[in-house]
Amino acid sequence: MRLAMLHRAALCLLALLPLAAAGASAGEAPPGQALFRRHCGICHLQGGTGTFMLGRRLGDENALLETRADLAGAYVRTVVRNGIQSMPRFSRVELPDADLARIVQYLAGTQPH
């Protein structure tokens, strides 16, 4: 069943998240990547609902945010704080400005500010 497969894919990825985060804190990954996976990865890794919807809207080649080269920092910041389509907004309590800046830097390859 396709749904079950999607669930399994998502759950397998989610099971990896703690390891990814732990690796980041040990200095093995950029902090922006660890923060992205922690806060955004629940929807935006392979098998996630955000990836599924971006694939439908923009094609599979644009579905995974981590592989995109066309994300502008200001756009990422705006989407996170204002939401888009069915994506909820993130408050500064859930994702403080400094952490968001690192995620922006990771996704857009720009300086934090």
Partner: protein, 520 residues
């Protein structure tokens, strides 16, 4: 969006309060820009987001800071709306019932204070999410299983305080609460149960204390701000045995309830069983346009096409047996015998063993069910209408028939799940809509009100509801000219004379704002 003030408070008065809050938390944690306010709106609102817009938010880091803010809120007469992580999607998210409240965001309080493997409990702060607790159990290789609701993004404490649930042996999350630390509306700090002793050693172990037992008083209420909570966790079982079945017709729900409820009542099945309609698979993995381009509710022929393509039944369920393999196998035989008296449909059986898997197993959090809001494309939204029914097949099928009829009349696709217990059935009906389609959201609001009315006429009410319908649902608890409301509000006024905590939550209005009942 423009600033919306609470009734009776000037912008100057609000600003004075926010300055006072900033002296407690630091200026960074008073969130008052237009963008800040918007992050607390109900992202899936079935109407105007402004109906439940906050004026600001403040985020304390400790119970002591919560106490200070609550005292200042009394002094400045500023109403607060406490949230844990604000992921109460489908019920209002982080938004307050009464517009203009200042959101008291407890998301920075995210300490896991204790996880006790021996006795199977944790003590956590409100900002701890299911992901956080899951990661903690994994990182420390603790053989305890979480019970996680469909949306795993939220707070462990917040979900229990909303009476969230899941189809697990510990799935009644409010029932797992054992001991709380609470800031009362006057700012006083309280420990409940056995934790009320200065040297209490059994707070998270025994549900009650000496005299009245207050934990449940703070569930779905506005009588205090819960700043710590003990929650029981299930010891990881040695093995599990899962039994799944697909049922072909909507009316099969009736006999299924009549077979499952006694098994649940006798403890042969020790968790509530989630019976999902075929639409669940479609809404979580596709969009409406994949199946149908027409107006009105999906015709039965499309539902049959979904069933065929996804290889699902009209109803689908999995029940799980936990623990000793010999006991599980014996119970599986009893279950098969009970089903054989009603059907020749086969079970699909799978087994899991901790020893063979080499890990503790257990559920992982996920958010994939939120995918449903994309059903129509665009800016989606969803509401849950979830009445509690008796576990009687005939009555449940009648409720199903009437509910589907209402959905058809409104031109909304029906998607229902029934959680079957031994003494009740919770029927979660998902109402999914396109927020940018004004005609559709208007029909959704009419549908919701019709469902509340129909259910009340049959003697049923929801276990939980969206902000916009709290007064309507509360009004259906009308025995003796609303004696329950009078009790709730007598308690409210005694504890919170200035009405500063969550006015209107679950239909409980303090005297100061009682005129707001029915607004929004």
């Amino acid at each position: 969006m423009k600033l919306i003030l609470p009734p009776g408070l000037s912008e100057r008065g609000l600003n004075r309060a926010l300055e006072a809050f900033a002296a407690v938390t630091g200026r960074d944690w008073v969130l008052r820009t237009d963008e800040d306010r918007e992050t607390y709106l109900d992202v899936y609102a079935p109407g105007n987001e402004a109906s439940h817009a906050p004026s600001a938010a403040v985020a304390p880091a400790s119970a002591e800071e919560v106490q200070a803010i609550v005292r200042l809120a009394n002094e400045h007469r500023v109403p607060l709306w406490p949230i844990s992580r604000g992921k109460n999607f489908g019920y209002g998210g982080a938004a307050p019932r009464m517009p203009g409240c200042v959101v008291l965001d407890l998301g920075r309080m995210k300490r896991i204070l204790e996880v006790n493997e021996r006795y199977g409990y944790c003590v956590v702060e409100p900002g701890v999410g299911f992901y956080d607790l899951h990661d903690h159990l994994q990182a420390h290789n603790l053989p305890l299983w979480l019970s996680i609701p469909g949306n795993g993004w939220g707070s462990v404490v917040g979900n229990a305080l909303e009476r969230g649930f899941s189809a697990t042996p510990y799935g009644d999350h409010a029932a797992q609460i054992c001991g709380m630390e609470v800031v009362l509306p006057g700012g006083e700090l309280l420990q409940t149960g056995m934790g009320a002793m200065s040297r209490g050693a059994t707070g998270p172990l025994f549900h009650h204390g000496f005299g009245p037992s207050w934990d449940q008083m703070f569930v779905q209420s506005n009588y205090g701000v819960v700043t710590k909570m003990g929650m029981w966790l299930m010891p990881a079982p040695e093995t599990t045995l899962s039994m799944s079945m697909k049922l072909p017709d909507p009316e099969d729900l009736g006999w299924l309830v009549d077979v499952l409820a006694p098994l649940r009542l006798r403890g042969i099945v020790n968790h509530n069983v989630s019976v999902q309609g075929c639409m669940a698979s479609a809404t979580m993995s596709s969009q409406r346009s994949d199946w149908y381009q027409g107006e009105g509710a999906l015709p039965d022929s499309v539902l049959r096409a979904i069933m065929a393509k996804h290889d699902v039944g009209w109803w689908n369920f999995t029940l799980r047996l936990y623990g000793d393999p010999e006991v599980n196998e014996a119970n599986a035989r009893l279950i098969q015998k009970a089903f054989a008296a009603r059907t020749t449909l086969p079970f699909t059986i799978t087994r899991w063993s901790r020893a063979e898997a080499g890990n503790n197993g257990g559920p992982s959090p996920g958010v994939f069910p939120l995918q449903i809001v994309n059903w129509h494309g665009g800016r989606g939204g969803h509401l849950g209408f979830s009445p509690v029914l008796p576990p009687d097949g005939k009555l449940v099928v009648e409720q199903l028939r009437l509910t589907r009829q209402r959905f058809r009349e409104a031109g909304i696709d029906y998607s229902g799940t029934f959680y079957i217990s031994g003494r009740h059935v919770i029927n979660v009906n998902l109402i999914i809509y396109d927020r940018d389609n004004a005609g559709m959201t208007q029909r959704v609001r009419g549908l919701f009100r019709a469902l509340v009315r129909d259910s009340a006429a049959a003697g049923y009410a929801e276990y939980r509801t969206h902000l916009s319908y709290m007064d309507e649902v509360a009004a259906t608890f009308d025995f003796n000219a609303h004696a329950l409301r009078r009790l709730n509000e007598t308690v409210k006024d005694a504890l919170d004379p200035n009405g500063i905590l969550a006015p209107g939550r679950n239909g409980i209005w303090p005297a100061r704002y009682r005129g707001q009942r029915g607004s929004g």
